[in-house]
């Protein structure tokens, strides 16, 4: 099965209304409609979702793993960006 005729698609599922679509896997299909059907058949057999997106994998621009240092390491030393240094008043309840 040639990659050109059966390109790779990335599949995203919305588990239920109000949640964002999340990436759940990939599959091969000839076109968008067939990809959507295959996504339904491969990834929603156990009631995983209420909405599907399929995106040609070739349409995704990914960061280069070699850039991991410059892209992501600077964030590691800035723990003050996590909201863990604030006292949350009891009245606020669960956040």
């Amino acid at each position: 099965m040639s990659e050109a005729k059966m390109p790779l698609w990335e599949v995203f599922i919305r588990a239920r209304g109000g949640l964002a679509h999340r990436h759940c896997g990939s599959l091969h299909a000839a076109d968008a409609e067939m990809a959507l059907q295959a996504a339904r058949d491969v990834y929603t057999r156990r009631g995983e979702g209420v909405s599907l997106w399929v995106v040609p994998a070739a349409a995704i621009t990914a960061s280069d793993p070699a850039d991991e240092g410059p892209l992501f390491e600077p964030a590691l030393s800035k723990i003050y960006r996590h909201p863990t240094f604030y006292d949350v008043p009891d009245e606020v309840g669960h956040m």
Partner: protein
């Protein structure tokens, strides 16, 4: 004469079970992983429909036959399924054409059965209509791509359509059993579904750039237990376990 409601439920159950088993024969042999799961999903929908209908038939009959006995302990002449659904899988085009012809009929059929005066049948119809709608969509999209694909896929798709066409007439047959049940609002008038089936199948064949065969002589006999030689082989495999080890379970 058996209870007409039992007979009716068995016909519908046998259609679903035999086609479901046929599709299950693709397990491990499908052209690609995605399609392997698609065919197995459809098979499981059909077997689920068959189970509900066998349970209903057994309950109405009241003779102590459960779904397993009805599925596994009857011989070919006792099966009431359409000849279409027992036809061998052939190549992928044959499987898809068979699925399209059947599901294009079952969508309006289940929808109409949803209005049956028999509450169990109405409930089964309402559930199965959604399943059939997906089966039709799946088969239609494949047939369009096979027909409008390469010279080889188009040739095979046309052969499949031509080969199976003589089995499509049986879906619309109304014998005395179904006429009487339809008259009292329990069963569906199959003949009345013809226009919708014609429309949807013609539309899909046109999109697939396939030629619609002429309506000529049609095969018939499944409802009376007169089957093609293929059914016996199918049952031999499907029923083997229960025949060899009666009551086996795991």
């Amino acid at each position: 004469m058996p209870n007409p409601l039992v007979e009716y439920a068995l016909r519908l159950a046998d259609d679903a079970l035999i086609l479901g088993h046929r599709l299950s024969e693709w397990s491990g042999r499908a052209p690609m992983l995605e399609e392997e799961l698609a065919l197995a999903n459809i098979a499981l929908d059909l077997i689920g429909e068959a189970r509900l209908l066998y349970q209903h038939a057994g309950a109405v009959e009241g003779a102590g036959r459960d779904e397993d006995m009805l599925a596994y302990l009857r011989d070919a002449p006792e099966f009431r399924n359409l000849l279409l659904v027992e036809q061998p899988n052939g190549d992928f085009a044959v499987t898809i054409a068979r699925q399209l012809f059947f599901s294009a009929f079952m969508v309006p059929f289940w929808r109409a059965l949803g209005g049956s005066r028999e509450p169990s049948l109405a409930a089964i119809g309402a559930k199965a209509e959604k399943e059939a709608a997906y089966h039709r969509r799946h088969a239609a999209e494949w047939l369009i791509r096979l027909g409008d694909g390469t010279a080889e896929s188009s040739g095979r798709a046309q052969e499949a359509v031509d080969e199976l066409w003589i089995y499509t007439g049986e879906m619309f047959e109304m014998d005395l059993v179904e006429q009487q049940l339809a008259a009292c609002g329990a069963a569906v008038d199959r003949a009345a579904l013809r226009p919708e089936w014609d429309r949807s199948v013609s539309d899909i064949l046109a999109q697939a750039t396939l030629r619609r065969p002429e309506d000529g002589w049609m095969q018939s006999g499944g409802r009376g237990g007169r089957h093609s030689e293929h059914l016996g082989h199918l049952l031999a495999e499907m029923q083997f376990l229960q025949r060899a080890y009666p009551g086996a379970s795991w």
